[in-house]
Symmetry: C2
């Protein structure tokens, strides 16, 4: 079993720290400390204002973290572009020196860094670059899923709109109901949580759909419900190809639309306003019909991210989204995924 | 200057041989011989039934090709998946032995093949893997093009529907009219023809749009008309992410829709019927509005591929497409690109 220390220096908050937070919240292995000198002294629950993470200390640096006897150091941020902040190098080297496995979801592979690689080899320590794509390549073959299986893909209005969390919560809810269900990871955090999956944004564009198809076919063979983590957004100027590859690779039977309440532009692109919810839902559904016109795919529910709102505001936001789209809506973290699982069950029973 | 021999063993025909044919038809450097033992003895024009290629001999193998004193051997096929046919290896080794540069657009990089690499190093011969992506990565920034520039992207119903040819013919036609125009290559053949460009299908999905954006911005800085070669199709189950990356990266001002007359399914996917022309045009246009709703992009003309039809059938097919869509249509190879250039000029004058 891993005992994980998370490196999240200066960034242990909901947006940039989402990798670390996801592993704390949903991972199987215990997190024993979080490194963020700007919040040292608190515990995770206090720092985030979250209902989880009580008793997990936030510490100043790797030296303090070692007191909690971790055997792995996990890089807990997901910066745009994916480079390694220079100021972290000494902490990684200290962790390797102390015999910790290194787990990273950065775009740049730590095992390809000469200094880190040499240190890890010398100490006999593994570096797991979660984002390293498989050597294999595969073009999508447009194969049908096992009849009776239900593939549900999370889509959304932007990156960081809760797509992974919603898939994880739906999987938990399905299992709670006694259904044979699986979560399919498509990004670094999901892969760290589930121990498998595909770093979709690292795959060569010709093979994105094909590699996703193969993975989803595997899951649908042995599961009745397959909840696929989504990535990016069709209306994102940079990441839309990843999103479309996921849609055409997973060929979902239904979708859940994820949105951060109140967002009006793509994060980091002030000149790129979000279309209305109804419009985004329509064009996400439309993409399935481009290749499978005979069997449309519907968005059957909305998952709102409302952690930046108080309870009353959150309820208002959920009601507004419901009224605007005519679809069931909730915040799965705040109110549970039951409403969405009900909607899916009803949809497939029809 | 290069003197090119093209290796197209068993596949020197319009579909699988399109790389070699493109270089013969549009490239700047002369092709001195084509290797295809199944058609040896003819010239290129005879073998293809084409209006170009007179006097370029088709020969049995590399040994016969060497009589025409090539200084480069270009692999002239584009197979699905992109692997190197095993039976070709000896011919590549013989070419290297004879001092020829090797030019390849295959997915597998010949310079990474130990045997070929060792032979090339020993003989001091270069291996140019056209599909090798740049080391650089870049996320799209959604930057505006130079005002007054016109970016025109080719889209289509499938792979191999003439997108590169149409972009090249439009560029020629624009230059004929005295316009400052450029062709932007996005695939192996286009890159071989123009000497630059981006192998879009080899780029990591997170960076497809960003790398295309940077290249197109460069071209729009110094050209008034920028004709971008398209790839794949939005309704292709495997390659749609490449297509969307090209659309969102190039952010075109107008599009030309390319289609092989009479096609009814995606090539190689019998269970994937083509939507109607009107429907395909609609959803290609729609994708631009996802990120740029304030300024829609229109398909302003249709380019039909009709080389498999006789003249009368071709005229009928063009008329049918015009009637079906209400758009100007032509086959640029058979009838010239004038009709489409007229339509574009009119569109931008409005």
């Amino acid at each position: 079993m891993r005992r994980i220390a998370i490196l999240a220096e200066g960034a242990f908050e909901w947006h940039y720290g989402k990798t670390g937070i996801g592993v704390i919240h949903y991972g199987k292995d215990p997190v024993v400390a979080v490194i963020d000198s700007t919040q040292a002294g608190q515990d995770v629950s206090q720092a985030l204002g979250a209902s989880f993470g009580q008793g997990i200390p936030i510490v100043r640096n790797i030296h303090e973290a070692l007191a909690y006897q971790p055997n792995a150091l996990l890089i807990g941020i997901a910066p745009m572009g994916g480079a390694l902040p220079k100021a972290w190098r000494w902490q990684l080297l200290a962790a390797i020196e102390a015999g910790l496995e290194i787990i990273s979801g950065l775009h740049m592979f730590l095992a390809d860094d000469e200094e880190l690689k040499a240190a890890a080899d010398k100490r006999g320590v593994a570096i797991w670059d979660v984002r390293r794509p498989p050597d294999k390549n595969r073009v999508a073959e447009f194969l049908p899923h096992r009849p009776g299986s239900h593939t549900v893909l999370m889509v959304g209005s932007d990156c960081a709109t809760g797509k992974m969390t919603v898939a994880l919560e739906l999987d938990r809810e399905a299992q709670r109901r006694g259904l044979k269900s699986a979560f399919v990871a498509t990004g670094q955090t999901g892969i760290m949580i589930s121990g498998n999956g595909l770093p979709v944004d690292r795959i060569i564009s010709d093979f994105v759909a094909g590699m996703v198809e193969e993975m989803v076919l595997d899951f649908t063979t042995t599961n009745d419900w397959v909840f696929v983590e989504g990535q990016g957004a069709l209306n994102h100027p940079g990441y839309s190809p990843v999103t479309l590859g996921l849609i055409h690779g997973s060929m979902p039977d239904a979708m859940i639309f994820c949105h951060k309440a109140g967002s009006t532009t793509i994060e980091g692109y002030d000149n790129c306003p979000l279309p209305s919810l109804a419009r985004m839902i329509q064009f996400n559904e439309d993409t399935v019909s481009w290749v499978r016109p005979e069997r449309p795919c519907k968005v059957v529910g909305l998952a709102l991210m409302t952690h930046h709102l108080n309870d009353q505001e959150a309820r208002k936001a959920v009601k507004r989204a419901k009224d605007e789209t005519g679809l069931p809506a909730t915040d799965v973290v705040r109110f549970g995924a039951g409403v969405l699982m009900d909607a899916l069950s009803k949809y497939f029973a029809l």
